[in-house]
Symmetry: C2
Amino acid sequence: MTRILVLPGDGIGPEVMAAALTVFDALGLSVELDHDLVGGAAYDAEGTPLPDRVLAKAHAADAVLFGAVGGPKWDGVAYDLRPEAAIIGLRKHLDLFANLRPARVFDRLADASSLKPELVRGLDLMIVRESTGGVYFGEPRGIERLPDGTERGVNTEVYSTPEIERVARVALDLARRRQGRVTSVDKANVMESGLLWRRTVQAVRDRDFTDVALDHLYADNCAMQIVRAPKQFDVVVTGNLFGDILSDLASMCTGSLGLLPSATLGPVDADGRRPALYEPIHGSAPDIAGRGVANPIAQILSLAMLLRWSLGLEEPATRVERACEAALARVRTPDLAAPDLPTVGTREMADAVVREL
Amino acid sequence: MTRILVLPGDGIGPEVMAAALTVFDALGLSVELDHDLVGGAAYDAEGTPLPDRVLAKAHAADAVLFGAVGGPKWDGVAYDLRPEAAIIGLRKHLDLFANLRPARVFDRLADASSLKPELVRGLDLMIVRESTGGVYFGEPRGIERLPDGTERGVNTEVYSTPEIERVARVALDLARRRQGRVTSVDKANVMESGLLWRRTVQAVRDRDFTDVALDHLYADNCAMQIVRAPKQFDVVVTGNLFGDILSDLASMCTGSLGLLPSATLGPVDADGRRPALYEPIHGSAPDIAGRGVANPIAQILSLAMLLRWSLGLEEPATRVERACEAALARVRTPDLAAPDLPTVGTREMADAVVREL
Ligand SMILES: CC(C)[C@H](C(=O)O)[C@@H](O)C(=O)O
Ligand SMILES: CC(C)[C@H](C(=O)O)[C@@H](O)C(=O)O
């Protein structure tokens, strides 16, 4: 039987996950859900943000549906045990190297962006972020005390050609099924690791994807361009750290942050299985957690992505997506409050989606 | 006699610098200007982007007025000799550790932003970027070939407590003369160097600046917040790499990119002298170079900053700034074209400033 591992996590994670599961239940699928703890919640209960049991379940599951982790409550926790170590550990242990983060503007919501509506209306940009390498994982790392009593903090940005090649392929391949354009982002003008990134992406393109157009931008310039004219982009591919910043930036520009799902994919194995984790782009939002006001749509759409990509359940996935759009035309959570629509809480939003199914 | 080293550099650098010098001449100051080559221009003439002669002059000068460096022409040049090595080398050799990048919105130009005008009108945010440390300078670095034939690119993010402390002081001190609020930005949730950054900035604040409010944001969240509601910030302090991205992003949000100057300051020495370099926020813009259309205002305002901060020439500095504002009310370069104002080239814009002096 198909099995999904459900990891709500911290902050608004449990609330939006509960909402997504209401929708899941309404679909009546014969898919088994297995819930477990992750992040700060797991740390509080078991002293570790990613228990071995959870990792083993993640390996065995057909897909992972993830909420969000982290919050000020765990600020004092030892570095290796902080809630964020859970999502980073899942990416690493499941080899989830391609983090796909769409920045799409929902038509009705073009006005919700802080950018002028004409700059974002119709925007459909896909950021492909490498997610098992770079400075997130490089060694040496840590804080050391020097003989003179001062301290020194070190992290290492490191990328090898195979790491760059595999994520470049994902991006170039995606572009083929979109507008056929990839922008690769680095700081090759100050970092040799960026220079290798640039050359390697170009080589993959020149060897196997000559039908796709590829250009290169520096990360500072790309950040500016995303704000200036986001519609110039089709697919953006970049390393872990730049991808973290640029994907959040791009989703914020859409004005639809609370609506955007993401997928993180591993390599296809010999049996054709592909490990995958689905999570909303937004974080754990500790400031609004527990108040029942968080927008559950990104979590619900993450579930839809999971159904389609990992379980091949195209029809239910489409039904869920349509229901979300329809529900958004009727009611809104406070983050997207509209003068002519009732403002509702997390649960009511989910109920509205179920009603439209 | 007071001496300024003038380094126009590449791309639009020489054009906007020539324009700024027209304004300088009109002031009739008894300040000596010394011109020299830097960046790609120096590489083409002498095989190095930062000749020893230029570095020696920069050390001896009272201040450096810098244009911009870089361009696709030098893409194939050896890494150590690329044009960007000039600005990075100047920062390092003169110990210019505090890069001050204001993101101010010129009233008349609030509509030029890609953000909604009400979000940026009145914005006055100062980004203080550490500029002699971090991944720009950390060792080990480079590209190595592995035994299996693949390559590996490495850079090192490294910060020590004294490096963090001195730039934190600059930011906290600036905030005292502004709204009294500093936001420190890092990725402490994934990088130990960021954790040390966060703790150290907090310690400086708690020891010597208890009158200044300090908070901390992750870099991805800060990028989002700059786009969502930039006016929430007063002073932002961050490391070299995040500062590069966030300052470009903030200036783009103002819609006034072509108008924004910056200053990079070193430590005050025993004689009270402080090395300083002034440059526009915008880069060398190779795509429009040589066409006489670049906006020279950022370069002219960089000159004004230099006059005030390095030479103590308050009155001429203010005259130049007022003249720029007045000129912008009459004519515009193409980047800021307005339906009701004539569009002019670089030289005409400078002439308009001179006329208003
Ligand atoms: C929570 C944090 C560690 C994580 C990251 O930096 O990757 C988050 O910001 C993200 O983008 O998924
Ligand atoms: C030209 C480049 C090396 C430089 C940097 O990355 O510091 C530029 O982007 C800047 O911000 O001054």
